[in-house]
Symmetry: C2
C-alpha cells in the first residue's frame, strides 16, 4: 500500500538484488523506518524482535532468510542450520514452520551451486502468493461493501475492524483490510472505525497508521465503544481477521472479537471474517471447546508504551502495584454470529457445508482427522 503516496510492501528485495528490506514495525506508529537484512541472523532478529509480525509476513521473512543463508553457504548443513535458527525465533508460529518446510523441501533436491538463485526465486513466489491470496479476498470482499453502499444510495460505508489484519501483517493489502483498500482505491466512500485493541493496541498503533498513510478515512475508538456505535446505526459492517478458523466456521481471533460479534448480531449489523484459506484448521469442529487460548505476559496489560511530549518512547505502569493481572490473547466467535467468511475463492457461509463447497479438495474424509 502507499505510505504518503509512495507504494510499499512490508518486505522487498533491495536495489542491490540480494539484501532484503523491511519496515521496522517496532517503531510504528511514531516513526517510519526501514531496515536492511543482510544475513540469516538479521532475518532471525527481525522475526524474534517483532520488527516484522503477522503470520503471513513472518513466513515471507523466513523464506527470504533462507535465501540470505544460501548466499553465504549453500551446503545441506547450512540449510539445516538456518532452518533451525529461523524456526526458533517464534516456535509457535504456524506460517513460519510452513514457509521453512516449504523452502527446505524445495531446495534439498537442488545442487548446492544452484540453491541461492532457486531460494530467492522461491522466496519471491511465497511473497507473491501471499499478495495474490489477499487480492482475492479484496476482490470478493469489496462486493459486500459495494452492496452496502448501493443499499444506502451510494453513501459512505462505515466499517468496524478489530486488531491489525492489515497490510502490515502480510506482504501487502492485508486480509480484513484488503476489501477496504479495494473499495477505497475504486473510489468508494468508506470510513473505518478502528478498535484500539487492548492490550497490545495493534488497532491504534498499526491499523490506524496504515489506513492513514494510504489515505483511508478512519477514526480510532476504544474497544468499549463499538456496541454503542452499532446501537445508533453508525456501523454498516464489521470485518475482522482470524488466527485460526475451524472447518465448521468458528473463528479464533484477537481477544474482544467475540464481543463485537455479539453487538453486531444484536443490532443486525453483518459480521464478516476475512481469511486466507491456509488458516482453516480442518481437524477442528468446535472452536470454543477445542481451541486452547494462549495466556501472555501480564505486563502487556499493566504497562503501556507510547511517545512522550518530548518525543521519547516511554513505558508507564497503569495498574496498582500488587494487583494481579490476567492476559488472554484470543477468543472464539461461534459461527452462529458470523455472517460470512471472505476467502480468496469467494465468500462462504460460516459452516462446514459453506467451507466445503469452496474448498472441496481440502475437507477431511471421515475418520482421517
Amino acid at each position: 500500500m502507499n505510505v504518503d503516496g509512495t507504494p510499499f510492501r512490508t518486505i522487498w528485495r533491495s536495489d542491490d538484488g540480494w539484501s532484503v528490506e523491511i519496515i521496522d514495525q517496532t517503531k510504528l506508529p511514531h516513526a517510519f523506518e526501514t531496515l536492511r537484512l543482510c544475513d540469516v541472523g538479521d532475518a532471525a532478529r527481525a522475526i524474534r524482535e517483532m520488527e516484522v509480525r503477522g503470520a503471513p509476513l513472518i513466513g515471507a521473512t523466513a523464506a527470504y532468510g533462507v535465501a540470505l543463508a544460501m548466499r553465504e553457504d549453500a551446503s545441506d548443513t547450512h540449510l539445516q542450520t538456518c532452518y533451525e535458527t529461523l524456526l526458533a525465533t517464534r516456535p509457535t508460529a504456524v506460517n513460519l514452520r510452513w514457509a521453512l518446510d516449504n523452502m527446505r523441501a524445495y531446495l534439498l533436491p537442488i545442487a548446492a551451486p544452484d540453491r541461492e538463485a532457486a531460494a530467492y526465486a522461491r522466496a519471491v513466489e511465497i511473497n507473491d502468493e501471499d499478495v495474490e491470496i489477499n487480492r482475492g479476498i479484496g476482490k470478493h470482499g469489496v462486493e459486500i461493501i459495494r452492496a452496502l453502499s448501493e443499499a444506502k444510495g451510494g453513501g459512505r460505508v462505515n466499517i468496524l475492524t478489530h486488531c491489525n489484519a492489515g497490510w502490515l501483517a502480510t506482504v501487502d493489502r492485508g486480509t480484513a483490510t484488503s476489501p477496504i483498500y479495494e473499495a477505497h482505491d475504486r473510489g468508494m466512500d468508506v470510513h473505518v472505525w478502528v478498535d484500539e485493541t487492548r492490550p497490545r493496541n495493534q488497532g491504534a498503533s498499526l491499523t490506524a497508521w496504515e489506513l492513514g498513510r494510504h489515505g483511508v478515512p478512519h477514526t480510532v475508538i476504544v474497544d468499549n465503544a463499538g456496541g454503542h456505535l452499532m446501537q445508533h446505526g453508525q456501523v454498516d459492517v464489521c470485518i475482522t481477521g482470524t488466527d485460526r478458523t475451524t472447518g465448521t466456521g468458528d473463528v479464533c481471533n484477537k481477544i474482544g472479537t467475540y464481543l463485537k460479534a455479539l453487538a453486531a448480531h444484536d443490532n443486525g449489523v453483518p459480521f464478516y471474517v476475512a481469511l486466507p484459506s491456509p488458516t482453516i484448521d480442518w481437524t477442528l469442529s468446535d472452536g470454543v471447546a477445542e481451541i486452547p487460548i494462549e495466556q501472555r505476559d501480564g505486563v502487556e496489560v499493566s504497562e503501556m508504551t507510547g511517545r512522550t511530549n518530548g518525543g521519547n518512547i516511554e513505558t508507564v505502569r497503569i495498574v496498582p502495584d500488587g494487583s494481579p493481572v490476567a492476559n488472554y490473547a484470543f477468543d472464539v466467535t461461534p459461527r452462529r454470529l458470523v455472517t460470512g467468511l471472505i476467502t480468496e475463492r469467494g465468500v462462504a457461509p460460516a459452516s462446514a457445508d459453506g467451507l466445503a463447497a469452496l474448498f472441496p479438495e481440502r475437507v477431511l474424509k471421515k475418520g482421517s482427522a
Copy 2:
C-alpha cells in the same frame, strides 16, 4: 473501607472539628495521599480537578464546601456566591446540583448566626445518607452472591465489574462494590474480575486499588477479555453501577457496559446493576433512544498516563499523529439484558413494574412527565 487495615471514608471532618479531609484521587493508584480542605475554594478545586469524583462523593464534597463557606461568612449573599462557585465546577453533575439545592434550601430559613453549625450538621447527614443507601444495596446484593455461592457448594464466586462504582465514587462502600465488600467482610470467598475500563481506566486505577487495599481478591483484565471468561464459566455474576437509569429499567453506564451485558446474556451469566434510587430518571422510558451520550476529549483515547520505571508520572501518546479519535463516554444497556436492579430497598426486576413496586411513591402519574 480499609486502606491496609485502617478504615477510611473518602471524605471526613478533621480532628480540628471544622476542616475537611479527602483522599486525593488524582494520585491513585500510584500514591495514597490525603488533602485538607480549609475553605470553599479548596472544595471547588477538589471537585473541578477531580481530586474527588463519582456522583455521590461530588455531592458530599459540595455539601461540606457550603459548610466551609458558612464558617467564613454566613450571609445570604455568600450562601448564593458559594452555591454558584461550587455549581460551576462540574456543571453537568446532577448530584452536585441536588446537594447544593438541598443545602441552600435548608440554610436560607435559618438565621445567619446559626448557619455554620446547621450547615455542618446537614453536610454530615448528606454524607451519612449516602453510606446508608450503599449499605442497603450491600445488604440486598449480598444475598445474590450468597445464593450463587450455595449453588456452587460454598465455592468461590467470581464477579465481573466494569469501571469504578466503588467506595471511591461514594462516601463509603460504593454501589456495585457494596455487595462485594459485604460478602467479603462476612467471610464469603469472592474474587473480582476488574475491567480496566478504557479510556480513563477507572477499573484498573481505582477499582483494583480499593479492592486491593481492603484485601478483596481480584484480577485486572482488559475490557476485551470478559466475553472469553464468560464462555469458559469463569464469571458467576456481573455487577456494575449506573449513571442514569430509566423508569423502565434501561441502564446508562460507562461505555462498554452493554458489551458485557450481551456476553452475560449469551452465556447465561446473571447481570445485575447496583444503584441508589436517586439515579432513576422516572421521566425516561427508552434509554437507547432518549439518553444523549456525552462525547469527551479525544486525548483520553490518544494518550495514557502512568508511572515510569523511575517513579515519575508521565503521559504518552499511543495513537498515530493525524489519526482522528472519537470518545463516547457512556452506552445504554437495554433492560432485556439486565437480570435485576439492586437498590437500597431491594432487588427489582429491570422493568417499569419492577421499579414501581419498590418505589410506588415516586412513579410519575400519567401526563405528569
